[in-house]
């Protein structure tokens, strides 16, 4: 059997690799749809600003997509290398779902990405738009399958256990398991929100530096509209997801609220902040608002829900982590809603692009969509511990029988390579964003760069999506293999 350390290291490795990975697909999902909208608007209006923005964001998309592919490759194999008992037990369900993701999404993205990025001169406009749409659809289909798989692990149904292994009995029930629609909506909206915040921050950065042109205005404007509409939707979806969790994973909700036990009378208060103490089964320094917990989770003044003491100690997740990651997520979502409303108010007043305080806030909130998303995943994944398949298989039973030395070595290598390689990639993305889109017909307009012998602006790299070299040097070099 694996040692406790090997289990812990395997969990850290999974948490590390999946957290790094999920950032890229989230941006891919958001940007692919954004690019499809931009190209559609351009084809419809022939306003060159849309095309300029398309070419600009597709460069950032290309870097981000590559990082998503290679970090995702690791995930497809990690189930076997580190979690072989889980794969033996549940492979009959997670395997087919993953295979459908590859067949319906990965190939679609990979097959059309080349045309989308490099095919402007090779196919007609309609076919190019079709390629962009296929990539965008692929990203959404991909999210659907992988979230079906994750949701099945959270709320499993539609299976039997025969000679110690899961056998699917009803595929529709497996895929449409109770938490799936909520998780899909919540994550899909999170990807759009994170992308809108990133695009808005890029626009705000240029406006703050006095670069005020139609392209910058357009992307800032689109991002703030998106925020205004989508951030409140996310709050509603999140609330529904929470109610669904209360129904199927009540101990997770009890941990989120640090709700230890019910009092004889009266509603459950909401603990705003505090330090949940798992051993003493109490929350220290808690600041409580009476009845609000009942109101949020049961939508009634005196409603009750089960406290942590209702569950055996060995079935409880780490309360402090779940409690705080949830508060980070919700706090940031409230800030996003506020930013959207503030921007709408300034837009109405006609000073959206000139109000430096708003632009500064929009800039600093650039990464908060991703932070909130990671905090949300930490909440739901730590909150379902100690189970890997909820109520059916414990995480400790799922791990491969490797020694701590092997798992530790691979973890160290993953950290080294991910931090340098993906750190450099993120630096390139940020530098492109700081560079900004070119004006139609201006010196940065990629559509004007035709290349070819004798032309003054002949690109040295005909196939690179970026038209200009970037100036300063990156800090980190890659590590060889």
């Amino acid at each position: 059997m694996p040692s406790v350390n090997a289990l812990l290291l395997a969990r850290v490795q999974f948490g590390f690799t999946i957290s790094f990975h999920i950032i890229f697909p989230a941006i891919t999902i958001g940007l692919a749809s954004y690019l499809a909208v931009l190209e559609g608007c351009w084809l419809h209006t022939r306003n060159e600003v849309f095309r300029t923005l398309y070419l600009f964001w597709s460069k950032i998309f290309a870097i981000n997509f590559g990082m998503g592919v290679v970090s995702g490759l690791v995930m497809a194999y990690e189930f076997g290398t580190n979690w072989s008992r889980f794969s033996d037990f549940a492979g009959g369900i997670t395997g087919p779902l993953l295979t459908y993701e590859v067949l319906t999404a990965f190939f679609l993205e990979g097959g059309f990405l080349g045309v989308m990025l490099f095919g402007w001169q090779r196919v007609g406009l309609g076919l190019h738009f079709f390629a962009t749409l296929m990539v965008a659809v692929g990203t959404l289909v991909s999210a659907t399958w992988i979230l079906a798989s994750n949701s099945w692990m959270q709320t499993p149904q539609g299976y039997d256990i025969i000679s110690g292994r899961v056998v699917p009995t009803d595929w529709l029930a497996v895929i449409l398991n109770p938490s799936f629609p909520f998780r899909l909506a919540h994550m899909g909206v999170a990807a759009f929100l994170a992308t809108a915040l990133m695009v808005g921050a890029a626009g705000a950065w240029h406006l703050l530096r006095g670069r005020d042109d139609p392209g910058i205005r357009m992307m800032t404007s689109m991002a703030m509209w998106m925020l205004l509409v989508v951030a409140p939707i996310q709050a509603v979806v999140g609330d529904l997801h929470g109610l669904n969790t209360l129904q199927h994973q009540p101990v997770k909700i009890a941990a989120i609220e640090a709700h230890w036990e019910n009092q004889a009378s009266g509603g459950v208060p909401l603990t705003l902040v505090g330090w949940p103490d798992q051993d003493r089964e109490t929350t220290r320094l808690g600041v409580e608002l009476p009845h609000l917990g009942s109101l949020i989770l049961t939508h009634s003044w005196d409603g009750q829900f089960r406290g942590l003491k209702d569950f055996p100690r060995e079935d409880r997740p780490n309360v402090a982590i779940v409690f705080w990651s949830f508060r980070v997520m919700v706090g940031l979502c409230l800030l996003m809603i506020a930013l959207g409303l503030w921007a709408a108010w300034l837009r109405w007043r006609g000073s959206l692009y000139r109000t430096r305080s708003l632009l500064r806030v929009a800039l600093w909130m650039g990464p908060t969509g991703l932070v909130a998303m990671l905090a949300g995943w930490i909440t739901t994944e730590v909150g379902r511990q100690p189970w890997v398949v909820y109520g059916v298989m414990r995480t400790a039973q799922a791990v491969s029988a490797h020694g701590a030395a092997e798992v530790g070595l691979s973890l160290a290598l993953f950290i080294l390579v991910y931090v340098t390689v993906f750190g450099a990639g993120v630096a390139y993305m940020l530098r492109l964003m700081a560079h900004g889109p070119g004006l139609p017909g201006g010196p940065m307009d990629a559509t004007q760069v035709k290349g070819g012998p004798g032309q003054p602006r002949q690109p040295l790299r005909p196939l690179s999506v970026v038209a200009e070299p970037l100036h300063s040097a990156p800090t980190g070099g890659p590590v060889q293999g």
């Binding site: 794969s87 190939f107 097959g111 390139y428 196939l463 300063s472 060889q480």
Partner: protein, 336 residues
Amino acid sequence: MGIDLPLIWAVIILFSVMMYVVMDGFDLGIGLLYPFVRGKADRDVMMNTVAPVWDGNETWLVLGGAGLLAAFPLAYLVVLSAFYLPIIFMLLGLICRGVAFEFRFKASDQNCHWWDKAFIGGSAVATFFQGAILGAYIDGIPVENRAYAGAALDWLTPFSVFTAVSLFVAYALLGCTWLILKTEGALQARMKAIARPLTWALLAVIVAVSVWTPLAHAAIAHRWFSMPNLFWFAPVPILVSVACWQLLQSLRRDPSAGPFLLTLCLIFLCYTGFGISLWPNVVPPSISIRDAAGPPQSLGFTLVGALLIIPMILGYTAWGYYVFRGKINASSGYHE
């Protein structure tokens, strides 16, 4: 129903792995050939011949892994546990080379060389460990109670190191003949010059592996040299000789697609050789596709999708290659 699900799935996975070996083979090969080409412009061209397609190529590896998990979960977990370290090293290599496709063109001139090194190093590491895994797989994997029963470094044997070297040669030749197809001028001439010794080297390692394999593995020797198998398998070495000879001939004439297609034939023949040596085991030496198969409900459900979608994938993949057909060079690139 009379459908033999494990059999069909074994064919699908064998097909995916072959697609991977062939397609990522030539783009990994380009990484292996980078050290032989110094000029930045030529290196740009080499990378640009695969930039629009490398991502689709690599997806076949993901399909192989996911399909194995879906259809043969026992094989998936045993193989990945047994080859834990080589798989991790291979993945890290693929990361370093995969990001180089985009990063190389974003880096400043003084930092570009880092991504060239990442591309070369990543390609070499991924190739080496894929080859080592192949050799160790032929050597066989001990299994007890549905789990890997060996040690962490059992995969490292003289045979597996030799198959790793052999795969280097095979991928390099694939990349080399791909570049003969996709480039022109000095770069193409350079590749033509490299292709000839690489062909001889590939023939040498094929012969060596073909001798070493039955000598070291009694079960495979028995399969090869017993009647009537000997009769059925005899065409493989004959076809290999013919393909090599044709390849050398076509390198002499003014070549475009010929050398690449003949190299594909050679790789396919080698792949067939491994297939007939190990069939029907999915985990040599003892676990067959039937022992490792998952529940029929899982295989059947996934098969519907696979049979419907794989032809579509092949269709639009072929379209993608068609869109980016023709020679690539530094001055025109894809701008026509």
